[in-house]
Amino acid sequence: MTGFIILSTFIGLIIVSFAAIIQKKIADSIILFMGVGLGSVVLFYLFKAPDVALTEAVISAGISSLIFLMALKHLGEQK
C-alpha cells in the first residue's frame, strides 16, 4: 500500500510541476508550485523523515508563496 501511494504521489507531482512550468500567467504558476510543495511533504512523510517533512511544510505553506507573490507585485506580468 505504501508503494502505491508513493507511485501515485510521484505521478501527481510530475503532472503539477510540468503544468507549473508551461502556464501563461505567473500567478497560476505560483499556486501550482505550492501544490508541488504539498506533494513533496507527503513524500517525505512516507520516506520516514518527519523532520524534513515538517520543515518543508512550514516553509512551503507561508513564506515561499509570499516571496514569489511580492516579486510578482513589484515586477508585474510579462509585457
Binding site: 510541476s17 512550468i21 508550485f33 520516514k48 518527519p50 523532520d51 513564506i63 516579486a71 513589484h74
Partner: protein, 125 residues
C-alpha cells in the same frame, strides 16, 4: 493490495526515475522560459527533486523513523539520520537564497524596467 510495489528494488526505481524526471522538468523550464520569476520557480522545483532523491535513496520502508520512544528502543531497525540532517540544513539555505535572488530582481527592475531574461542579457553588449 498492490503488494509488488512494496519491494525495495521497485521503490528504488520509482524514486530514481520520478525525481530525475522532476529534475529534468525543472531544467527544461530553466532553459526555455523567459520571465525571471518562472526561472526562480524552476530552480525551486529542481531543488525539491534533489532533496527527494537524496532522502529516497537511503530509505528502507519497513524501518521506522530515527526517533527513540518508550515503545521503540531498538536502534538496529531505524533509518539513516545523516541525509535528514543534511537536507534539513539545505532547505533553509535554499529558501534564503531564493529570497535574496528575488530582492536582486526587484532592485534590477526598479533600475532598468526589464523582466525578460533575454533583454537582461543584451545589457552586456
Amino acid at each position: 493490495m498492490f503488494e509488488f510495489l512494496n519491494q525495495p528494488e521497485v521503490i528504488k526505481n520509482i524514486v530514481i526515475i520520478g525525481s530525475m524526471l522532476l529534475f529534468f522538468i525543472g531544467l527544461f523550464g530553466l532553459l526555455t522560459r523567459k520571465h525571471i520569476i518562472k526561472i526562480f520557480i524552476s530552480i525551486a522545483i529542481m531543488e525539491t527533486a534533489i532533496f527527494l532523491l537524496f532522502i529516497g535513496l537511503t530509505v528502507k520502508l519497513d524501518f521506522i523513523a530515527p526517533i527513540l520512544d518508550t515503545a521503540h528502543t531498538n536502534v538496529s531497525n531505524m533509518n539513516d539520520p545523516i541525509p535528514h540532517a543534511m537536507v534539513l540544513t539545505a532547505i533553509v539555505i535554499a529558501m534564503s537564497v531564493l529570497a535574496l535572488g528575488v530582492s536582486f530582481a526587484i532592485e534590477y527592475f526598479k533600475l532598468t524596467g526589464k523582466t525578460n531574461i533575454d533583454e537582461m542579457n543584451e545589457m552586456r553588449h
